[in-house]
Point group: C2
């Protein structure tokens, strides 16, 4: 703050704008901590719709967390942020090995899984989370007031999702999402029968991705799937990931969600 700062130090300044340590916000927080990158943490309060506020949209016009600000270079979307951190800090790696494999075939396996989680997992868990959490928040807003809030949501798809969360997702949509999650769990379980981590022998960004969007909360959120019984390798893998000091540190960061609404995070 008041100390001397060289231009070099300023140039390296990183700010991470994020919400609760789960899903997207967790997904880029883990690599920052695994790599030991110093950063300023700025909490964006989704309960107060801060992600749609003018000050935040001046940083990310899409109005979504998280955002990485690296000395003025703004990076959004967690899969992109995490590759960026590998490009900028290739040598800062956990003892377990690089988060992005350095051999091209390994990097391809990591990206294959990242794509699968981004396109076939994330949105389905998210729908259940929105249904149970964001829907409650949205319904607590008065008519008229809600429509005004929606005017501040820049992405049309995101606006639709808010409106659907308020009215409630259909049983058919929720059932389809559960089916996709079960498909993903089977796929992960099969992979973990071949290799200890998703992309091979080492912990990578692919594990961080599936963990943040599904692995960490799937057993608690979907008791009907009997996760412990049907996906024992996934549970063991999840516990290994949870026990990593960087992950534990990330999970312990601020959570302002009302305890009754902690569908994703559970009681902390």
């Amino acid at each position: 703050m008041s100390g001397p700062a060289s231009l070099g130090t300023l140039k390296m300044t990183i700010t991470y704008y994020h919400a609760e340590p789960l899903a997207n916000s967790l997904k880029s927080m883990i690599p920052l901590k695994e790599k030991g990158i110093a950063y300023t943490s700025t909490y964006v309060d989704l309960h107060k719709f801060e992600q749609h506020s003018d000050w935040f949209k001046a940083i990310n016009p899409e109005g979504q967390v998280p955002v990485l600000d690296h000395a003025g270079t703004i990076i959004t979307h967690t899969t992109v942020i995490n590759e960026y951190l590998e490009d900028v800090f290739p040598d800062q790696q956990p003892e377990s090995g690089p988060l992005r494999p350095t051999d091209p075939a390994g990097a391809a396996r990591m990206r294959y899984w990242n794509k699968f989680v981004d396109e076939h997992v994330m949105n389905h868990v998210s729908m259940h989370g929105w249904h149970r959490l964001v829907g409650v928040i949205a319904r607590n807003v008065e008519n008229g007031e809600f429509e005004k809030l929606m005017e501040h949501v820049p992405l049309p798809d995101q606006r639709k999702k808010w409106m659907q969360a308020r009215s409630g997702f259909s049983d058919a949509d929720l059932a389809l999402a559960t089916e996709k999650i079960e498909y993903a769990l089977n796929k992960v379980e099969a992979q973990l029968g071949e290799t200890p981590y998703l992309a091979g022998t080492h912990f990578t960004l692919a594990d961080i991705n599936f963990y943040s969007h599904c692995g960490m909360m799937v057993e608690r959120m979907f008791p009907d799937l009997e996760v412990a019984k049907h996906f024992p390798r996934m549970v063991k893998w999840r516990d290994i990931v949870t026990a990593r000091p960087a992950v534990a540190d990330a999970l312990s960061s601020e959570d302002r969600t009302a305890p009754g609404l902690r569908t994703w995070s559970g009681d902390r």
Copy 2:
């Protein structure tokens, strides 16, 4: 075949399994040609459902083209293939510059656009293409015979898409897809007002992605959108991309689609 081949030559052997030069199959063919990588081209005949045949599923269990076989290392999914080619052949680049920017911020912009095309463009153009082309192919198969073919489709989502293509997508779904394409065109048009290419000053994998999945065919496939009138920068950019020798070369490769069904490719 019968000539002498050193182990070194064998190790570099690349085979690209692909269908017609459009969408996915085009998307990884362009980088191969832009980078001047020698490869064996193996045509997979989608009109004969070869992608679901046992010989092909032995190569890609997901039963989808294209596939890159690099001396036995199998890479699938075009965004992953294209990053892999950058990782393996970083120095083989067109005169216009590297297909993946070498500065981290540039690579992040490229990946931002790749993600956008993969998640918010590709499937929507694809739905219209399937409706007009694959639906006709699927309806030409007898009942009973069709169900048998479906048993060979390994991905459940893909099976659903085939069945939907056969019965026809709903007007509501098709209209929503068109709306998303229009949104994408507006976004691209705005970006091309800022920079000559999607990720900045140079032609990159992001341009190849949008071109292959939307830019090359959008004007012809969606006359109602009045593309030339509303998206003049996109049209100019498209013509610049089409004129690149590597792109022209890729576009001239084999197309077995019956002329009347060339919804994507048009008359060649």
